[in-house]
């Protein structure tokens, strides 16, 4: 005979504001098999948990139903409390009275009736629950960090410095990411390269870090603690064991007119190239799509000049497989290009730039060695306009969100311009100035007050070119929307931060969720900011949303701490909510008929074949078997099984039907 305890939580007022919790508890007390029912303001608090524990001990409960929030929120809390009181944790179930009832309905009798029904369903289910034991799986103590920007670098160094192994995969020929492209950084104006490049070197030299540049994740199988990552090492066409990084090949390469990605198209590079002089590793790759030899079959100048014979034209892409325990996604972001903006000329004006392009102009390592000059004619612009929120906060452009970093870097750009061009005039068109952050507001005030940058609150309607000037037409909304027209020599658009082009594909490869803008989704916006919904996969930096360097570094260290925490145990406990194929006594052995529909249905490759053998070793029957380490408990195989030989532990057919019947048997 079941002795079920029912515990109804008010969740402060979250549930009790629309549901009569006392009535729900009273009604639950009358249900068949319920031994004890009560309600309490905060069931998840210490006194609430104690209430449950005492009831289990005193009443000898055989099952517990907590009517509270979503099991995603507090199921582990209550199951742990039950376990502490000696009850198998899988005999505890949660009825979601908050998200499924109180939050979505008005306060009335029907809402309370629905809450009672929800509790009744779980009471019927828990009667059929069986004690389950957690599954233990070993952990491979090696982390995969995807992306070698500042986020990936910070995460990799933190994990490696804690004594764990790290594999870093970077798709470009060098690590460093966007931060290596920046000139100075706000709010202190310290040089981006100076603070970044030592860290890049540290990554390359760290004994615990294996660095794969010009490489991409091809595949990720497995589960937390036991991933298998297949990595594509794109053909560099250069044998890095022989290459000394002397750079002779890059100076002699005849294809010199390829727009440099590092310089955002403002400078040119060769077909065999290192992205920038401080690259790590400082060895070149051949860009096959732009190489004369690969395209036309002739040239081989680099091979002729290479003193060590390191050029190898026929090196193919290689694939390596690594066992991995955890993954950190740090793939970063991108910015919209100017061609996204019809009103600003569809990208056809040479001196209308993105913020990232301006960084290259202002950077000592840039195409103008840090002098602000117009790409069109090399002249120093005497009048410059910066347009904040170019694309951002504009639902009509499909980007309703704030890109967060633009207010600050625009202030920095205007400041750098004033520092470099003393007789120059600078204007910033803005919607609001969002300068939340330590010393950020002060920095913007400094640009306005000390450096004399003209801030105009308003939007720019269009830009057109006339006699070598760019006519910027906008409005000053603080002066009653007075039309403003500025004849600028250069215009810089603070274009919106957007997700990387390959982000969606990568997310699907790893089975992690992403938002409508293809940014990777964190598991909880407040309490799980560095976790994804897939256990063992963490994220940090601007791949989650646009963010600045301090925030990125903080998040990266957070993700690293999670990985280090995971690796501090030798084995991992997993929920036993997995599928099992039934076994029975001879001569049936199992109702499985060996059709293996389940094998084709399983998205996790968790179904294996098992031969049931007689005493003489002959195969009597081949049946399906679920690998408990791989099964994620999705239940697809259960639905596919024609002979009902597979069932889900914790969500068996019997339990599901009990829930449904509880509603039907009024």
């Amino acid at each position: 005979m079941s002795k079920i305890g029912v515990f109804i939580c008010h969740c402060g007022e979250n549930i009790s504001a629309t549901v009569d919790c006392e009535k729900v508890a009273a009604e639950a007390g009358k249900m068949d098999g319920v031994e004890f029912a009560t309600d309490y303001k905060y069931m998840c608090s210490d006194p609430g948990q104690t209430l449950i524990k005492n009831a289990i001990k005193e009443k000898g409960l055989t099952g517990v139903v907590v009517g509270a929030c979503s099991p995603r929120m507090h199921e582990p809390t209550f199951r742990k409390a039950c376990a502490e009181a000696g009850l198998n944790p899988y005999l505890c179930e949660m009825s979601n009275l908050r998200e499924h009832c109180s939050w979505v309905h008005e306060k009335n009798e029907q809402t309370t009736e629905k809450a009672i029904d929800l509790v009744k369903m779980l009471v019927e289910k828990v009667k059929k629950n069986k004690p389950l034991n957690a599954i233990k799986v070993p952990i491979t103590k090696k982390a995969l960090v995807i992306g070698g920007g500042i986020a990936g670098i910070q995460a990799a160094l933190d994990i490696a410095n804690a004594g764990q192994q790290v594999i870093m995969v970077e798709k470009e020929p060098s690590i460093g990411g966007h931060m290596s492209q920046l000139s100075e950084t706000f709010p202190t104006l310290d040089c981006s390269q100076c603070i970044l490049t030592p860290r890049m070197v540290e990554v390359a030299q760290h004994p615990n870090i294996t660095l794969y540049t010009y490489a991409e994740l091809e595949h990720l199988d497995g589960f937390i603690g036991n991933f298998k990552a297949t990595i594509r090492l794109k053909a560099k066409s250069v044998d890095y064991k022989l290459c000394t990084g002397c750079g002779l090949c890059t100076t002699k390469c005849p294809s010199k007119k390829i727009p440099s990605e590092f310089n955002e198209g403002l400078g040119m590079r060769t077909a065999i190239y290192t992205p920038f002089p401080q690259a790590v590793p400082n060895k070149p790759v051949i860009d096959r799509a732009n190489c004369t030899y690969y395209q036309k079959g002739k040239c081989k100048v680099c091979e002729k000049v290479c003193p060590t014979g390191a050029i190898q034209y026929d090196l193919p892409d290689q694939f390596i497989t690594e066992d991995i325990g955890a993954v950190v996604i740090a793939t970063g972001f991108n910015v919209l290009k100017t061609d996204f903006f019809p009103e600003y000329g569809y990208g056809k004006y040479a001196d209308v730039l993105t913020g990232l392009q301006f960084e290259r102009l202002a950077s000592a390592s840039g195409p103008t060695l840090g002098e602000i000059r117009r790409p069109s004619d090399g002249k120093v612009p005497k009048k410059i306009v910066f347009i904040a929120c170019s694309g951002s906060r504009d639902p009509a452009k499909g980007i309703p969100y704030c890109s967060k970093i633009c207010c600050m870097y625009t202030a920095k750009h205007a400041m750098l311009y004033q520092h470099k061009v003393h007789d120059g005039e600078s204007y910033v068109f803005y919607m609001d100035i969002r300068a939340g952050g330590k010393n950020y507001e002060e920095f913007v005030r400094r640009a306005i007050e000390d450096d004399g940058v003209n801030y105009i609150r308003g939007r720019v309607a269009r830009i057109y070119e006339k006699d070598g000037k760019y006519i910027v037409k906008g409005a000053d909304t603080l002066l009653g929307s007075k039309p403003v027209e500025i004849e600028a020599d250069m215009v810089v658009l603070a274009t919106a931060g957007v997700s990387n082009p390959g982000a969606e594909e990568l997310a699907q490869k790893m089975h992690v969720s992403y938002d409508a803008y293809k940014f990777f989704a964190e598991a909880h916006p407040k309490l799980k900011p560095v976790e994804t919904n897939t256990a063992g996969i963490f994220l940090c930096g601007a791949c989650q949303a646009p963010k600045d360097i301090p925030e990125t570094v903080g998040m990266a260290s957070g993700a690293a701490a999670k990985v280090i925490g995971l690796f501090s145990n030798s084995e991992l406990t997993r929920e036993p909510l997995i599928a099992v194929v039934n076994r029975s006594a001879p001569p049936v052995f199992s109702t499985c008929v060996g059709c293996f529909m389940c094998q084709t249905a399983c998205p996790y490759n968790a179904i294996e074949r098992e031969e049931i053998k007689g005493r003489d070793g002959s195969v009597i029957k081949t049946v399906a078997k679920v690998n408990p380490g791989l099964c994620q408990g999705c239940g697809t195989c259960v639905a596919f099984c024609r002979s009902k030989a597979i069932d889900m532990q914790g969500f068996s057919n019997e339990q599901m039907f009990a829930e449904v019947m509880a509603l039907l048997n009024e």
Partner: protein, 282 residues
């Protein structure tokens, strides 16, 4: 001979009869017959949709319904305002079944919503484009500023006809007629539109900026596809010149006039004599 429906609208019957004349002449030169919709009415223009949405939709809807009833599958609408109103109406009705029903009740006619509404560029692009080059006998060898005005490309998400800013379709057609379209900044700027009557000074300023930019960049003619734009840039030239304090005498041609001249029609056939700013071209 291809046969299409034709909605002239009020301008093409009055102040811009040369636009109608040139559209019909060019169509004829390319073996296209344009059959005027019988018993058509006003599209509603700016006035109707500023006052009453249902009135605005119903006026345009009646035109669409008539065309459907008269067995037309495609209609050519040269005026940019008419084109805009008819296309927007069709879009509004097709996305809202209840609204469509309401409007059909008002006009007491059914609408299937499948009618294709073409502006002049679309007409040429669809039925003439592949024959254009071979037909050009006197290439229109001038530098021209293609002026689209506000209505032809907006709202972009409904018309889906050309780029919102810096549209290209007219430039491409003019290039293929042998002209040299210039890059300029005023392709879709406002000409002042209906203020022509009540605030001629405003139109002189707005249209003046357009004419000046075209002239400054060396355009020898401005090419338009809207009767309103044409009349403001052409008829208001004295006021424009007074505002600019300079005499600019570049003519304003409809795209169909320019193409007509290129394919060998004579100036009279495309109505050039009707312009205020004399056209001395070729």
């Amino acid at each position: 001979m291809k046969k299409l429906g034709f909605y002239p609208g009020c301008s093409l019957k009055g102040s811009s009869s040369e636009y109608a004349q040139s559209v019909l002449a060019v169509a004829k030169a390319f073996d296209i017959e344009l059959e005027e919709i019988n018993d058509w009415n006003c599209c509603g223009a700016t006035a109707a949709h500023n006052m009453n949405k249902e009135l605005a939709l119903s006026l345009s809807a009646r035109i669409l319904a008539l065309a459907e009833k008269q067995g037309m599958e495609e209609i050519v609408v040269p005026c940019a305002a008419c084109y805009n109103r008819l296309t927007v109406t069709q879009h509004e009705l097709n996305k809202d079944e209840a609204l469509k029903q309401r409007v059909c009740d008002i006009i007491e006619m059914p609408i299937s919503g499948s009618l294709q509404v073409l502006n002049v560029m679309q007409l040429i692009d669809k039925y003439v484009a592949d024959r254009l080059e071979e037909k050009v006998t006197t290439p229109f060898g001038n530098k021209v500023a293609c002026y689209y005005g506000c209505l032809l490309v907006r709202p972009h998400n409904i018309l889906k006809f050309d780029r919102l800013e810096d549209p290209q379709s007219m430039d491409i057609l003019m290039k293929r007629s042998g002209a040299n379209p210039i890059e300029w900044g005023f392709k879709t700027e406002c000409c002042g539109a209906g203020f022509s009557v009540s605030r001629t000074d405003v139109v002189a300023k707005l249209s003046g900026n357009i004419v000046k930019d075209a002239a400054d960049r060396g355009a020898e003619a401005i090419i338009v596809a809207c009767p309103m734009c044409q009349s403001n840039l052409d008829m208001r030239r004295p006021a424009i010149n007074e505002y600019l304090k300079q005499k600019i005498d570049i003519p304003v041609l409809y795209i169909t006039q320019a193409i007509g001249l290129a394919v060998g029609l004579n100036p009279k056939e495309v109505g050039l004599q009707k312009h205020f700013v004399p056209v001395e071209i070729n």
